[in-house]
Symmetry: D2
Subunit: 335 residues, 4 copies
Amino acid sequence: MNTFGRNLRLTTFGESHGKAMGGILDGMPGGVKIDMEVILRETARRRPGQSHLVTARNEKDIPELLSGLTDDMVTLGTPIGFIVRNTDHRSGDYGEMAKLYRPNHADFTYDMRYGLHEARGGGRASARETLNWVIGGAIARQLPCMKDITLQAEVISIGGITGTTEELASVVEEAMKRGDSVGGVVECVITGVPAGIGNPVFGKLHSRLAQAMMSINAAKGFEYGDGFAAASAYGTEQADIFISEEGHIQTKTNHSGGIQGGISNGMPITFKVAFKPTPTLLRDIETVDKEGNSSILKGKGRHDPCVALRAVPVVEAMAALVIADEMLETGKLNS
Amino acid sequence: MNTFGRNLRLTTFGESHGKAMGGILDGMPGGVKIDMEVILRETARRRPGQSHLVTARNEKDIPELLSGLTDDMVTLGTPIGFIVRNTDHRSGDYGEMAKLYRPNHADFTYDMRYGLHEARGGGRASARETLNWVIGGAIARQLPCMKDITLQAEVISIGGITGTTEELASVVEEAMKRGDSVGGVVECVITGVPAGIGNPVFGKLHSRLAQAMMSINAAKGFEYGDGFAAASAYGTEQADIFISEEGHIQTKTNHSGGIQGGISNGMPITFKVAFKPTPTLLRDIETVDKEGNSSILKGKGRHDPCVALRAVPVVEAMAALVIADEMLETGKLNS
Amino acid sequence: MNTFGRNLRLTTFGESHGKAMGGILDGMPGGVKIDMEVILRETARRRPGQSHLVTARNEKDIPELLSGLTDDMVTLGTPIGFIVRNTDHRSGDYGEMAKLYRPNHADFTYDMRYGLHEARGGGRASARETLNWVIGGAIARQLPCMKDITLQAEVISIGGITGTTEELASVVEEAMKRGDSVGGVVECVITGVPAGIGNPVFGKLHSRLAQAMMSINAAKGFEYGDGFAAASAYGTEQADIFISEEGHIQTKTNHSGGIQGGISNGMPITFKVAFKPTPTLLRDIETVDKEGNSSILKGKGRHDPCVALRAVPVVEAMAALVIADEMLETGKLNS
Amino acid sequence: MNTFGRNLRLTTFGESHGKAMGGILDGMPGGVKIDMEVILRETARRRPGQSHLVTARNEKDIPELLSGLTDDMVTLGTPIGFIVRNTDHRSGDYGEMAKLYRPNHADFTYDMRYGLHEARGGGRASARETLNWVIGGAIARQLPCMKDITLQAEVISIGGITGTTEELASVVEEAMKRGDSVGGVVECVITGVPAGIGNPVFGKLHSRLAQAMMSINAAKGFEYGDGFAAASAYGTEQADIFISEEGHIQTKTNHSGGIQGGISNGMPITFKVAFKPTPTLLRDIETVDKEGNSSILKGKGRHDPCVALRAVPVVEAMAALVIADEMLETGKLNS
């Protein structure tokens, strides 16, 4: 449950308000030079407190790499262990929540699952866990087989509005003013993946991407290529006609989103992830306590009004882990 | 790649135009009475040739169960091996296709992946593989822990049209007349799943459902609860308020689709799967051959104009495998 | 529990007195020509009824390969499904046993584990299951990466006696005359494995061989290289001194048995497996029934007086599966 | 490769001369009170520098538990991350070794496997890795399902000599004086395991114990019950006759070592592990360097003359991980 991947496996630990987050990235081949700046850049991108649009927690999030590397940061082929200390936790904020079930949070379901309440800010259900994923993804991106591959995610709509960054920001600001939150869609485009990556049957590339993306907190939907729009279309409209240019076979259009039969066809891989509004609101909201008594949950604490914004580097990190895993997999069969 | 599940594992084999399909379902506890009629009913639901709307192949699809059961069909706790002979295969239909890349099919990507062409009707990429899944799902549904659980899938829109069965059928008929195909959306509702099923982090219930559904041929998108609509909504609109009725905590609304934080909350689990139009058309279509030469692919052969129709029992089967797997998983931890 | 291997995975099914044995070998790369004669030769080697020293069951054991191969027996890279029908089962022989616990058999432990008794000749505990392994191993041996590798097992002692084949046979005959059974040791030597195969930590080559060998029915011990004798020795006696001959580094001696630190060093891999005497005796023996009442188990039925004899091709098959798996694994990292 | 277990999974990292060792123990149910003293006691047992018979490295080996626990040390059901800083490493001692292949060490095979030399004291091949296992085992032992189970390992022979602790110690002292090392056998007895633990086919309890024990550095052989002696015996001598005492079925003798058909029968589980002499000697020894040139490896550095002595708590830890894993597994099926 806490391990992701097959050839490149990320196993993680850490409760958001515990001592530390951390993980083990196993399967990295030896001899790969790792640039710490890339890791810091990616963790900085997902860090709270960067602008007025995201939560005000101020955490440095400096990972310490404990193994798997020489002193000059070359991989040894052994597992890379890493930790990030949790420095800025104020568990007092969560006192009341420990007694009341927050709507759309995992409080109630965790109680049903485990029979005990983990009061440290939601424990493993917290989005802080995605810090581990961003670190793993930032290392995976540095594999030699990834060097011609670009992964680029961005928020393409918020609250149903598409537009410029300014327009999207104003939707979030409006929601914040009302103590409300708002959903959004993140699109990711991956270029440079060679044709022939992925697997049939239960290992389809888009199936693994779906699993990865739906692991991200607040994700409600995944589609690749034309996605749900393809369900409204006719076959004649969706045909990606093959053409050959200078001996290189490609398709005229890319309704398929770069994947056919679960395997990459060399075109850009495109997918979208839908994120619901943050369930935490800065308004009072009715709920029940553990005994089922009606109660009012006071709106307070810190939260992101639009989690889609902070999900962008997480989408890229999970995509990097999936693509790197498949690149290593295929390497095996080709040799 | 050919194994699905953790506690209940389905491993499958078979090329659509080879000798047989088959699989091994491992993890079924002993002492479970299996009704062969349930298996035959489910395989009949997905069988081609049932109406004028689906492909005309007439295959009996009678599975033979080879192990794991007493003579009176009670499980032994040992793996259940099963096979289905392929009787009605006419590989001649596929002669031309072996040389040309069919648009949106897996021909090209399989060549890129494996460096050889499997001419037997697409091999493992064929939808015939889903017969194995339906058999596995039909057995999984009969677990005692599944007896209060209902899984019901149906096509809710075709070609962008929602409506009655007759209206949807006429959209398909229109497409057939033109030699075209059309996409559709399947919705699945699962009731009776107790609160507390699923896992955090990488084992979220909706993440596993997404992986399962995106494994189905022609699937392009997955969403649960309000899905992509939630990305256009505000937090205040999406809050599923907890209420307590006669000591039973539930939510007033079900925007969450029965899953919060990756774990079931006792409400109906709802999700939708988008299916693209069948890529096989009964029209001539331009393409290239393996050397990259332009060519025309003649429209012929057999195909389903709307794969969403035949996907319905497959969606249920894969959902049954996921839910049964999670029910067995949780049983472990509660004991 | 019914799957073995990581890159090359064998999943099996079948009760000894059920309809069929069978399995799925997943992970074979495409383009490998499979010789059915090799499979038949190996299954013939383990078949009962070949001489007066082994059990008299006369089973043809002709496997049917159902998938994963072209008509001219070239692998497709898809899983190879196979079955062997059980033709010569006389379940009447086992009537009494269904009520009494046979000493050193799995009857009692299976009851404790599963709470029901599988009367079909021991079900999955039967040595007939190893037929599946031999088929899997016979396919694995035909991988191109295995062509310079020889795997050769033989019985080196029976009842504590080492000697010629005739001497060992007479020990077995003596035991048979008395209605007794006798243990034996099988040694296996694998040549041609290149240096660098295997993994550190939990994936050590000898650890995987130990797991594989201890899966064989009646196996009681495993040792590689000097094994238990090394525990009685001094470091100066055990040092395998490195020498270089024509640029090729090897060791003067091979106390290590071809494996150092869990990874092959290019020397012959040598290991031994201890097999206990068959627990089935042709003598009356005291025991209890399921209610704990004292009873006498009549000596009858069919059995092998020395299972070590029939284990020889099984030892080779499991060794072939392990080595092939590791060869495929390493191929991945080198590319 | 760096993960052990199925229901209770230990994933580890750390090179012996790197920054830290560590791991993640995943699968611990919630609500279990963990006693830090038990962990410290077990790590102290395996620590170097405790007596004149073991290596003189003085490491405190205080693990820091970073997650998965409340402040008062109750498990949360989430993964337990832990690290141990490496404080006393003197990598200078290993300078020469980086150029020469040490006999019976993993230097040569690692070079062949990975194509690069990890000079930090052998990296993952070092016995320091077993510190992670001892920590994992010390936590696993504290599961409620383990409370009636005792695991007791001890050295039963050294250099072929059995006898009192004093006699064994003098064998080691003699070897030390000569700059030599010596092998030994560790026996482990596990009591209190209920009948019905383990699995058939590839998941046999003794097969998993074999895999676990053969993962320990310097292990050369594994046997359970009568082991290799059973291969010299007759069936009539090995029969463990069932008797019923006060409604409790057990066996008169325990040649089976508490396991029949891969599943526990309620009798004590007994097994032995053979350890070779430490390959590091305090004598000069001939070898080759990486280019194959003959050279002399100077005897120096620190080493344990008899690794069997320090393996005792490691054997117990690995046994605890296997038994706990199987106890959790069976819990699943019983519910």
